[in-house]
């Protein structure tokens, strides 16, 4: 839908209108209802897809797994072992449900960016990464406060051992800012920016190719290259999308692990 919309926009103008941030601003499809937008619909769709997939994969689980069960189990095992156990340590099982939900939700929503006909990464709307980062923020601080108590948790953040006393004046504000501001911000902005830029890049090459096709013969000959680069970038995007889901989950696990360690 976006493609068609943007394409007509490009045709009716004088020259080529390059895609911009406005292309991410999808109006609600029910007039006046701000919740009836494509990204929100996609978020619900992703929840539905993930639930269906893993329920189907877990049903009739057998010792000799079916292909579906194998696929579901490999994703689960990957999150549990590589992101849970190896990072958090012996009490990782408590956090696996959260990490697993996070990973699959982000992954599917990112992949929507290159799924034909859908072709919009939900996470390129910044509210979604913000909310996810807020969840992680509360989880790792809650875990830390519960483990150490509020006072000694904050002390652990503010005062790293083995530093001359006056240096704390310089360092403590940085530590506080890192834990309470920079961490959630970088977490959400990294995901958002990657999805946003990736989608924009694809738009540029596909819309550009389409526009070249409407030009004179010389331009028509060039347009396949634009499409070819667009297709190559689609594969590249696939990689980025998986990687970003992985990094978000990995950093969440690392933050939880950091809040749990004893000496801090």
């Amino acid at each position: 839908m976006l493609r068609v919309l943007a394409a007509t926009k490009g045709v009716e103008g004088e020259g080529f209108n390059p895609p911009d941030a406005g292309d991410f601003n999808l109006p609600p499809f029910i007039e006046g209802n701000v919740f009836a937008t494509k990204p929100i619909l996609l978020a619900f769709l992703s929840a539905l897809l993930i639930a269906t997939f893993f329920i189907l994969a877990a049903r009739k689980a057998s010792v000799v797994p079916s292909k579906l069960q194998f696929a579901g189990e490999s994703v689960y095992t990957f999150v549990r072992n590589d992101l849970g156990r190896d990072v958090i340590g012996h009490e990782f099982m408590r956090f696996v449900p959260y990490l697993f939900t996070l990973f699959t939700f982000i992954l599917v929503n990112n992949l929507f960016g290159i799924v034909p006909l859908i072709q919009f990464p939900t996470m390129s709307r910044i509210s979604f990464p913000y909310v996810l980062a807020a969840f992680t923020f509360f989880v790792f601080h809650y875990v830390g406060i519960k483990r150490h108590g509020l006072i000694s948790y904050l002390k652990g953040i503010m005062f790293i051992p083995g530093v001359p006393r006056p240096a704390y004046v310089l360092i403590t504000p940085l530590e506080l800012a890192t834990y309470f501001l920079v961490r959630p911000l970088t977490l959400s902005l990294r995901l958002f920016a990657n999805m946003f830029a990736g989608h924009l890049l694809l738009l540029v090459f596909f819309l550009g190719g389409e526009h070249l096709l409407q030009g004179v013969i010389g331009l028509k000959l060039i347009s396949p290259f634009s499409f070819a680069i667009g297709i190559a970038l689609t594969f590249f995007e696939f990689m980025v999308q998986c990687l970003q889901a992985y990094i978000f989950t990995l950093l969440t696990a690392l933050y939880i692990a950091g809040a749990l360690v004893d000496e801090h």
């Binding site: 990072v87 083995g162 360092i171 940085l174 920079v182 970088t186």
Partner: protein, 63 residues
Amino acid sequence: MSPRNDENTFWTIFGYLLSGLLIWGGIGYGLDRWLGSGFFLLGGLLLGMGSSLYLIWLRFGRN
């Protein structure tokens, strides 16, 4: 070091550098606005850079 730790180290360092500049640079900027002077912003940025480098050394360089 596993790639996992590298990832963490990289983002932690990035975070420290960013917050150093933001916090001390911000304080300097505020002082400049308040006092109508011009050198606190520069001083704050330098101080922030220095202290975040110090903090990075404390976290990762000591052992």
